[in-house]
Every structure is written in C-alpha cells, then in structure tokens.
C-alpha cells in the first residue's frame, strides 16, 4: 500500500534550531567525535550493502562467463542429453511451466479467499487466532516437509488404492484424459504439493495488504449502503491489489526455484520428453486435448535438471548447468518484472 509521503522539506527555523542545539550542547572535540561516529556508521552501512552486492555480482559473473560456451537458442529448444553439446532444458522448461501454472491456478483463489475471510469476515475467536498464528509457522516450515506430506497424501493417497502401481486404477474422462488413482509422480501431485508450500506465504501477504486498507474506506462504503460483498469487491480488494499481487508473484517465484519437494514426490531426474508431448506453444492451440493430459503426465523441472548437470563428473557439464541457471534467472526476472508492472497498474487506478 502506498501512503502519501510525509513532507520532509526542512523549514528554515528547524535547521537553525538544530544547528544551535549542536553548538550549544558540546565542546568542539565532542562534536568532532560525534560527527566521526556518524560517518563511521554510514560507512558500516555502505560496506554491508556493497559486500552483499559484491557476492551477487561475483556469482552472476562466474555463471555468465561459464554459460557463454553453451547458451544459445538450441539450449532452450532441445531436451536433455548425455552429450553436453546437445543437452538442453526444454523438458524442464515445460515441466516447470505446467507445474507453476497449476500451482498458481490453485493457490491464488484459495490464498486470497482465506485472507479475505480471515481479515474481513472472521470474528476474533480463539480458533481464528490459532489459525493466524499457525499461518506464520507454516510459512516457515522447510519445503521438504511439504514434500513428504505431498508424497503421502497426493502421490500415494495413503495407499487407499493399493500400494503397488501395477494394481492402480484410473478415471477415464470421456476418453480424453486418464486421471490415475493414486495420483503417482505426476505434475498435478507436484502442483498440489507446491500449492501447500506457497499457500501460507500468499495468505500472509494478502492479509498484510488487506490490513493496510484504511478502515475508514470500509466504514464509508458501508455507510453509503453498500453490502459487505460490494465493499470488498469495489473498495477493499482493488486497494489491496498491489500488495496481494506482489506477494503472489514472489511466492510463485519461490516455487519455480524450489527443488526439494519435487525430488521428494518423485519428479524425474533425466527425461527427454515434455509433458503430454507438448514441446512448443503452437501445440497448445493445434492439439488442445493435450492441455488436459499434461497435468497427468510425469515431469522434470528446471532446478532438478540444473542440479543433475552440476553433479556430472568432470567439467564438461558446467557450462550446461550455468546456462540452465541463466535461463532460470531470466524466467524469475520476467516474473518479478511482471510483479512490478501489476503493482504499478493497480496502484495507478486508486483515486483516494
């Protein structure tokens, strides 16, 4: 939420009084000492900033230098290979695309809905207090723990349908798509697990954004005869949108780079196919039935492929791993740019 900045232009009288205070309160040496301390503090802060920056620049520089030999168009149009000159990230790129799309589709309505309920509707009972406290706890749980949860609940479904894959069932939907039961190591199971990982983050960010909307707006809207739903729909949500969308996109960016839960639920390490055979955006239009099949297919993801390349013996695969990191970073920057853009667009519409 953007609040109008406070006026910070110093008034002449302020400056004078400050100066006079300084000069009256101490001798020359104490002034010098205090000014010196002030400068030391400024330098400490500067060093803190630049040392963090230096580490980042060094990391980026080494990755970019390393990727130069491999990163070209063929890297993002070909699938993995044992030959470093031919290995590409296409399978991981599509795997991550489906995973993140489904995760966003499931976590955003659930997350914003829960936040609206907790902030706008729920009474302050012991139950809502327990929920609110535990949301922060859940946001701090390491993602591999969610991976184990996802393995039991989604991938294996508590072994309700038999523990062996050979005996498992599937729901055949109009002959187009088969939904396996238990889900097994498919994208849908991964997306459900990832939804659990980022849901608390989205709810907390949305709660903060909703809380930052001044309550005078709500009271005014209700006083004009609007219902609660109308108030939320036309006043509160638009005002909270910049904060909510930033929170959502940061959470989704985290999901793109997260590997641990995917390894836990059994994502493939080496795969040379894209989910449901969709290897170019054109196929999304020409063979739309595959869009339904892709979430039920097995997959690999960008961070898993990068991790695998980095573990190969010798240096042959380090340019490939570096190229993978650059592609992952590019995707992340696109997402973050998108967050900035949405923030700008939605906050511009606010009139009050």
């Amino acid at each position: 939420m953007s609040t109008p900045p406070l006026s910070v232009t110093p008034q002449p009288s302020d400056v004078q009084s400050l100066k006079s205070v300084n000069f009256i309160s101490g001798s020359d040496s104490t002034i010098r000492r205090r000014l010196f301390l002030s400068r030391v503090f400024a330098w400490c802060c500067r060093i803190a900033t630049y040392s963090a920056l230096a580490a980042l620049v060094a990391l980026l520089a080494s990755i970019i230098v390393n990727c130069l030999g491999r990163l070209n168009l063929s890297f993002i149009t070909s699938v993995n290979s044992v030959d470093p000159a031919e290995a590409g990230i296409l399978a991981g790129l599509w795997g991550s695309f489906w995973l993140i799309s489904l995760t966003t589709l499931m976590s955003v309505p659930l997350g914003i809905g829960s936040a609206v309920y907790l902030e706008e509707y729920a009474k302050d009972t012991w139950l809502t207090r327990v929920i609110k406290v535990n949301l922060s706890n859940l946001a701090g749980v390491p993602s591999i723990v969610y991976g184990m949860l996802g393995l039991t609940v989604f991938v294996r479904m508590f072994d309700l349908f038999g523990s062996s894959a050979a005996k498992s069932k599937a729901i055949n939907l109009l002959g187009i798509v088969k939904i396996p039961l238990p889900l097994g190591d498919i994208i849908l199971a991964g997306a459900l697990t990832m939804t659990l990982v980022i849901l608390p983050i989205i709810i907390i960010a949305s709660q903060e954004a909703l809380r930052a909307v001044p309550s005078s707006i709500r009271t005014a809207s209700l006083a004009l005869g609007a219902t609660r739903w109308q108030t939320i729909r036309h006043q509160v949500l638009p005002a909270a949108m910049p904060g909510i969308s930033t929170g959502v996109i940061l959470a989704v960016s985290r999901a793109i780079g997260d590997t641990a839960p995917l390894i836990m639920i059994g994502a493939l390490t080496v795969a040379r196919f894209c989910p449901a055979g969709i290897d170019s955006p054109v196929k999304l239009l020409t063979e739309p039935q595959r869009i339904l099949q892709a979430p039920m297919d097995q997959f690999t993801a960008m961070p898993i492929e990068i991790f695998h390349w980095a573990k190969q013996p010798g240096d042959d695969f380090s340019p490939v791993a570096a190229s993978g990191i650059v592609v992952l970073l590019l995707v992340l920057s696109v997402f973050n740019g998108f967050a900035v853009w949405i923030r700008y667009r939605t906050s511009r519409g606010l009139k009050w």
């Binding site: 080496v270 449901a276 039920m296 190969q312």
Partner: protein, 317 residues
Amino acid sequence: MSRMRCVFGMLAVLAIAGCTVEDTTPGDVAGGGDVKRIMVDGSSTVEPITSRIAEKFEVEFSDVQVPVKVTGTGTGFKELIAGRIDIANASRPIKDSEKEECQKNGIEFVELKIAIDGLSVVVHPENDWVTSLTVAQLKKIWEPGSTVTKWSDVDPSWPDHKISLFGAGEESGTFNYFTEAINGKDGAITENYSPSGDDNVIATGVAGDKYAMGFFGYAYYSRNKEKLKVVAVSPTENLADAVAPTPETIEAGTYTPLSRPLFIYVKKASLSRPEVEDFVRFYLGAGQAEVAAAGYVALSAAEVEASKAAFESAVGK
C-alpha cells in the same frame, strides 16, 4: 440464463456419464497418449550408464520413453519392492532383507551384472610420498576412531602435516562398499572426514589441498586425471603387490578389494512387456559400448554372456 444453466447441466451429466474407472495398464502414460514408458530408479553411480543407453535406445525405438530417477540404490530397491518401477539401478547386490520383502510382495526380479567400477583412492598430484597403500594402511586412516591425524602417523617418513580426508556420504552405495571393503563393516568410518553427496566436491577438495586424500567411483577419477593422482592399492601386507585402477586391472579383477560390480534389477513381470524386453536386450547388447563412455569398465565377453543368459532365461519363463 436458464438456457445456459440447461447447457451446463447437460455438459456436467455428459462429463460424469463419460467417466469410467478402469485398471491401468503398466507402461501406459498416465494422462493418455500413444507412447510406452519404462520406469527406472536407483543408484546415482549406475544412472550415467542407464541414461546413455536409454538415449540411444529412444533413437531406435521412438515410441518408447525411458526416464531415469536418481534416488540411491536403497531407495531404488524399495521402489522395486513396491512394484512401482520396472528396473532398479544398483551399485551393490540386493540384501537378503530386501529379497525377503520382494518375496512377501510377490515381486520376482532378475539380477543382471552390467559393468564394473573401481573405487579410486586419490591424492593431490604434488603428493610425492604416496604412490601405493596397503588395505591395512587405508584401514588405519579410515577406520572408526582412527588415531591418524597427520601423514606421519601412517608412516614416520611422511610429512608431519595434517591429513584431510574427503569421501562419499552415507546415503551412497559407494560409501557402503568402501566401508565394507576397507573397514570390514558397512557404515563404519572415521569421524575425521568431510562427507559429501557430490563427488565433484570431493574431486575439488582433494585437488585443492596438497595433504588431502579422497575416494570415489572410477568415472570421477577418469574425468579428473590431470587434477588428481590415483593411489595403487595392495590387498596384502606387501606394497609391491599394489595395483592401480585402470580399465585393464579392474576388468581382470586384479584391482582388489575395491573393484565392484554394478547391476540392474529387472522386474520379471515387466519383461512380458515388449518394450522392456527390447530395452534390456539393447542394454546388454549394443548398449554395452556406452559403459566405457560413461567412465566405467565394461564387462568381459564371458560376463556379458552370463548376463545375457540370465536375461533370456527370465524372458523365456
């Protein structure tokens, strides 16, 4: 409005009517589609061999996909026991307890030896005092509660300098094999070493420290020959019997006790599927050329024949 509701209602009825619950066919792709898929899981040591062969296989059999998961030998066997995979990559033979669980679940499998690895003990290239070690010396360095902290603790003529040890972590089959072969007990190792699940970290660690020593699979030594020096290992008390790991000594079986066979375990029920049968036959046939390319040592002709015979008899059954 009511018309739209009608249309939606009809669509919903159609969707539910079109839903049937059916048994899945092993090898079918979950979502639907016309390709067949073979599921492989297990050892990270064997993965490079299987991945190379799978890639070549997919070129010839374009309607079959062979993705590989890397979770470790032990987890691979668990997946085999649960019947979730067709082939388990393994860098050690199956344990009796795992065999029993297979029996309990009605899972039959065939064990196929597919390559040999020579666990390599490496030191820094500027290390000029060690060229060979006996198993007893290795044990003195690596055993639990080892008193060796400096090189001179092993041999007084060696430098009076701290020895730094690098090796595989306990989730790895390499760790199991090394501790069993050198220390006599699976899992027993000095507290004094830096474990890593990433063999490249071990290679970098040893290459960066003149007084370091480490161990890993032969593939990692063969890819880092210029950065590392390999130590010959003597199975006896006599250093003159020491043998360095080379493709020849590993294949001939003279590099002992650190040579180990690598395996794939194929579920017998899966062999009735033509794509699995084709893949395993390819693995033991044309695929064997990939073993050396992956940095391991190929089996002798006789051993390949033995594996082929075991496979064919399992298919015929």
